[in-house]
């Protein structure tokens, strides 16, 4: 099962290595990582999407992460109401004749054209991974030259629903 786990960490050298090394040692497969600074000086946030077998393994993962000295907080967001976004840049083969067609495809995705050359066109899109996958599928027939994705980043919504309503808000079910 896929889980979104966020870590609040002290921004010290080696902390990313410690966290990813731990996941490697305990055989957790990382699907994506994104790391960035937070509103507090010296504090960073890491968002991992990991594939774990079962709840026992998941518990091990969060406990082991929590043991790291530089890890301040471990949150498994998977069961919560969350806002999750990923950014992708997609470069496709394109000349003048298909530009307007591409434009009409990307518009419903609220994606933007961010670069154009004689034979290519680059699109930027943000959203949940499914949305990005959908757009990539639509653009594939034009010939994808390059894709760069940031990996998912997420946090919990300001208001959490009652436990009984949780499943419908969950992202990775």
């Amino acid at each position: 099962m896929k889980r979104i786990v966020t870590l609040v960490v002290q921004n010290r050298s080696g902390v990313l290595n410690r966290v990813t090394g731990l996941m490697h040692k305990r055989q957790f497969n990382i699907e994506s990582i994104s790391v960035g600074r937070t509103e507090q000086d010296g504090i960073s946030k890491m968002t991992f999407v990991v594939d774990v077998e079962d709840h026992r393994k998941l518990e091990q993962l969060t406990k082991q992460l929590h043991k790291q000295i530089d890890v301040l907080k471990v949150t498994d967001l998977s069961e919560k109401a969350i806002v999750a976004r990923e950014l992708a840049m997609i470069k496709i083969v394109s000349n003048a004749s298909v530009r307007s067609e591409v434009q009409s495809i990307i518009e419903p995705f609220r994606a933007d054209v961010i670069d154009i050359s004689r034979d290519s066109l680059s699109v930027q899109v943000t959203g949940k991974p499914e949305k990005i996958e959908a757009l990539i599928d639509l653009l594939r027939p034009y010939g994808i030259k390059d894709i760069a994705r940031t990996g998912l980043t997420a946090f919990s919504r300001g208001q959490q629903p009652q436990a009984s309503e949780l499943t419908q808000f969950s992202l990775l079910k």
Partner: protein
């Protein structure tokens, strides 16, 4: 002519290395195990110039230094301190760091590093020791400026010795230790991400008390957590009050008196039959400070199937890791035991039939070994050493047959007398560890019970015995083989003894003599019996080359992959 004094050699301005030495003094360090080299020259210079009281023990290999520090840490429960240079000096420590991590021993490991100006250029003797030690340390630091040194050293000692103890590496670039240091961070440290739970939740202890009241077949399993938490006395009070039998992991030996009538012996792969059956049949298993290692549990499908499992551990990640736990108690074992004793209810059930059953089993299935008319078996020798010392000794071992025999036949009556490499199973651990133990406890009798294979991995430390005249007694149980490897090849590889029979070996007596140490070869039981007591009581170091029969195997045994209820070699064969 001017005689240079230490004061003259001192520079006007303190260097980073001076600050480091001061920081160690502030931590009340009394012994450092180390080996100098290029990147730690400034630190060794500061050590030379310092008036500090502590002693530096120059081992003959960095591995010797770290195992000695582990021995020191195990018997004192205080961090062992190691100092080594960059590159090969640091990488030679890796085995010991991993060993300390597995067995939760507090260490502060100081390594030199190439100067920050050349870091990352594959400079001479550069190794990424931060990267290398990340998975095998509780935490590690690379010092970025001398300003940080006092804070980092304080943090390192705190992290190493609190919570679940473990090794902390502090990597110090040469320019930082060499350069003048004008200002240091003397503020108390702040570790917001490190707040180990020391005291138990009283409600969880209440659940445990309720479970004890209900249990018909309770059993206590002691681990090294009892030793780290200093909980032995309270444990004994509780076990006696409730008449709960006690078994132990390898590393927990000594947490409960080995000669106590409630003690069933060690459990696990080479544990006693009664201990393993008690685990299989008990209806309440109270694990105090053990981590349900696979050598203890055997096949998990057959482990304590009938039991409500209570698990006291300071490391929450250990609870539920291997064995499903009904009553989790995150706490220091000592604190949890105290709370348990405080909440103990009146009139506990006496578990007479359960105890009678176990005592019957002990009588029926004692540890056994064959005593052939010619020659000497290692079990007999260990038993004899135990009797000759009346069990009053610190015993260190490597890994293998001799380790298991020591665990089986040496009944540790007090805590912190048993020093062995459990989790990592490191050959070459026992002898240098004994040096650390002897330095920590000069008045105690320290016996390094080692095999001929393991001893040859770190025997260069004989130099330290010679230099310091440390009265460590080395007993080599010499079967001219890598005994446990040989045993497994006999049992599971159809007697194909691939590279495990090592007939070629040095003359250990002459080897000892080369270091001006008394060496004695004992080949028969008569020789052994008549001289062992005297040799062990000598106040000089002695090396005893005890020739034992090669073909002996450790029994009883849980074959790999089986449940611990499924032992072979329970009865003499």
């Amino acid at each position: 002519m001017k005689v240079e004094t230490k004061a003259d050699a001192r520079p006007a301005v303190k260097t980073g290395a001076d600050v480091l030495i001061e920081s160690l003094v502030n931590q009340e360090v009394d012994t450092i195990f180390g080996y100098p080299g290029g990147a730690v020259l400034p630190i060794y210079d500061a050590l030379y110039r310092s008036d500090a009281e502590f002693q530096h023990i120059l081992t003959r290999h960095e591995q010797g230094a770290i195992h000695a520090a582990e021995g020191y840490a195990r018997v004192t429960r205080r961090p062992g301190v190691v100092l080594a240079t960059s590159g090969p000096g640091a990488t030679n420590l890796v085995t010991g760091i991993a060993d300390a991590m597995m067995d939760s021993l507090p260490l502060v490991v100081l390594t030199g590093q190439v100067a920050t100006t050349v870091t990352g250029t594959d400079a001479f003797q550069e190794a990424d020791i931060m990267g290398i030690t990340t998975p095998i340390t509780k935490h590690n630091y690379q010092v970025q400026s001398a300003y940080e040194i006092p804070r980092i050293i304080k943090e390192a000692f705190h992290i190493a010795s609190t919570g679940r103890p473990g090794p902390v590496v502090v990597d110090i670039p040469k320019d930082i230790s060499a350069n003048p240091c004008f200002d240091t961070d003397e503020a108390p440290f702040h570790l917001p991400g490190y707040q180990p739970t020391i005291n138990p939740n009283p409600l969880q202890i209440k659940k445990l008390c309720d479970a004890v009241q209900k249990a018909k077949k309770p059993l206590i399993l002691t681990g090294a957590g009892v030793l780290h938490g200093g909980g032995s006395d309270v444990l004994q009070d509780i076990a006696e009050a409730f008449q709960i039998p006690v078994t132990s992991t390898l590393l927990g030996l000594g947490a409960f008196p080995g000669d106590h009538e409630l003690f069933l012996g060690m459990a696990g792969m080479h544990g006693t039959y009664t201990s393993n059956m008690a685990i299989t049949e008990c209806d309440l298993l109270i694990n105090v400070g053990a981590r349900f290692d696979d050598r203890l549990t055997g096949n998990l499908e057959h482990f304590a199937k009938n039991a409500v499992v209570a698990h006291i551990d300071i490391d929450p990640a250990e609870i539920g890791k291997n064995v499903h736990t009904h009553i989790p108690i995150v706490s220091d074992a000592g604190a949890a035991l105290k709370e348990w004793k405080r909440q103990m209810k009146e009139g506990p059930d006496a578990h007479e039939s359960w105890l009678a059953e176990l005592h019957e089993s002990i009588k029926e299935n004692p540890l056994w070994f064959n005593n052939p008319p010619e020659g000497m078996v290692a079990q007999w020798a260990v038993k004899h050493i135990y009797e000759a010392t009346d069990g009053d000794a610190i015993v260190t071992t490597d890994v293998g047959q001799h380790q298991m025999w020591a665990a089986q036949y040496f009944q540790f009556k007090r805590p912190d007398r048993w020093v062995t490499s459990g989790g990592l199973g490191t050959m070459g651990f026992g002898f240098p560890a004994a040096i650390g133990c002897q330095l920590a406890k000069p008045d105690e009798k320290v016996i390094a019970l080692v095999g001929d294979g393991g001893f040859q991995m770190t025997l260069q430390e004989l130099s330290v015995l010679q230099e310091r005249n440390l009265p460590v007694k080395i007993v080599i149980l010499n079967n001219q083989a890598l005994g446990m490897v040989r045993q497994w090849q006999e049992e599971f590889y159809e007697e194909r003894y691939s590279e495990s029979l090592v007939a070629c070996q040095p003359d250990f007596v002459k080897l000892a003599e080369a270091y001006s140490i008394r060496g004695v070869k004992l080949e028969t039981r008569e020789e052994f019996e008549s001289s062992i007591k005297g040799l062990l009581e000598s106040d000089e170091p002695v090396l005893i080359d005890a020739r034992v029969i090669q073909q002996e195997n450790v029994f009883p045994m849980v074959p790999p992959g089986r449940g611990i209820n499924d032992m072979v070699g329970v009865k003499p064969r």
